[in-house]
């Protein structure tokens, strides 16, 4: 499955990473080599094999739906780049 420039630009947009034209061509080259290596997987017969998501086949543990955490907003916002009155500041989204 050949990787095209448009694939890299789409992935970069979905991943929210700014990529210049020069960088995009570098990524096409590097990612193509990686995907060529990955394509060896297509040679494995996996008919009837179930996908493995967790090495111990464990399932998600559940707990009672109860509030157990205390509010630590001030502590958690101390490492934020910009906050005001307990709110995270971002550029205007709605005009």
């Amino acid at each position: 499955m050949a990787l095209e420039d448009s694939h890299v630009r789409r992935a970069a947009h979905l991943a929210r990473i700014a990529v210049s034209d020069d960088q995009a061509s570098g990524f096409v080259e590097d990612l193509s080599r990686i995907l060529d290596m990955v394509d060896q997987l297509q040679g494995v017969d996996t008919d009837g094999v179930a996908p493995l998501a967790h090495p111990l086949d464990a399932t998600q543990r559940l707990r009672a739906d109860e509030v157990t955490e205390t509010n630590q907003r001030d502590t958690f916002q101390r490492c934020a780049p910009a906050v005001e009155n307990g709110l995270y500041l971002v550029p205007r989204v709605v005009e």
């Binding site: 789409r10 992935a11 990524f27 990955v38 494995v44 996908p51 464990a58």
Partner: protein, 486 residues
Amino acid sequence: MHDKTLTQIANALGSGELSSRELTEHYLQRIQQSGAILNSFISVTADQALEQADAADQARAKGTAGLLTGMPLALKDIFCTQGIKTSCGSRMLDNFNAPYDATVVEKLKTAGTVTLGKTNMDEFAMGSSNESSYYGPVKNPWDLTAVPGGSSGGSAAAVAAGLTPAALGTDTGGSIRQPAAFCGITGLKPTYGRVSRYGIIAYASSLDQAGPMARSAEDCAHLLNAMAGHDGRDSTSVARGVPDYTETLNSPLSGLKIGLPKEYFGEGLDPEVEKAVREAVSVFESLGATVRDVSLPHTHYAIPAYYVIAPAEASSNLSRFDGVRFGHRCDNPSDLIDLYKRSRAEGFGDEVQRRILIGTHTLSEGFFDAYYTKAQKVRRLIRQDFLDAFEDVDVLMGPASPTPAFDLGAKKDPVSMYLQDIYTIAVNLAGIPGISVPAGFVDRRPVGLQILGTHFAEAQLLNVAHQFQQTTDWHLQRPDFAEESA
């Protein structure tokens, strides 16, 4: 002082021969003297370390000390530490002070250990040479022109150089075992779920596991005792009792069945590394073990499967770095999308961006089944290879890496770097434990013997490694660097 193992230091602290303050001051001085040459630390926490050392000495005077009370340790900079920078080797987190401690950090603090600082690493643990760190590469104390391995390269180099008695690392595809091998120390990757991942900055959540890096298997056993156990805050942590890993260190090895996977001794293996590993295996035969060849037929597909699964998980995990809640934010964003895109482009280095893009691409519409579902199916076959092998043998042995440490700057192409992890990566896909122990040298660069066991066989791996270290002295050899800067 720094030529002692953690176990010897614990005994000296216990007998009152040494105080934690003396010990901590000694290591801090060594870090100050030689830290800049190796670049093994990102942050040194001298003030806090001395406070912890004094508290440990007081606890000992009061009779409330445990075995690790007052023991200096270094933490890979991937473990969140409250109030101390946790960078994960990235510009993205250069300004990040975690608001809480990782569970493992909390457990070690409770055990009374002293944190000397945070060690250098490949950015977001993505690398096999420690060259992708925002803080620059780490040098191998055995040869300053060689890499220390990665991603826990700073931890491995610091232990080997005698800048700390032991350190913590994490291992997603070999990141404890390969640097341990390259730096001539002992490093254990536990079974997936054995050690809590809470507060460890996530790379690939179904593969990541933390473990000890030290001078000997016995040292690792003491550390694993303090680290392992169930944690309600990590949903993949396993609720299963933790044995005392030191209790079985001296069990005899007569009758131990060792398997040598033929795929681990094939093309690409340095002949001198192979010689050292085979000599190590013969030591086990002299201890009463039997050796047979086994096969792990899907070995060849482990790297391709990993480079779908790990980047897929990484692309999801690293989406949290958005320039809004923590971490790097670009200047003067024009709108929200520009804020996200430029903050992430500026904050992440090349290798991290590559893996995020690979993961995003392979998970995207039209590619998901061909890549991700296929890789997960192959992952099951890889795990089955190991389970089948452990029907016939107790442990598997082979090289930790196909070559000794390579030169700084030698691997420019990402794929050639990835292929370095051929013997370690399948272990994470299968979730089994593995340990690397020093087993010789090639041109003064260390060789690591890797020993693998079935799920939750940590006690057995530590026993097997300890018995090897009772018979050999590879693990006690030090680089000249550690002597010269003494």
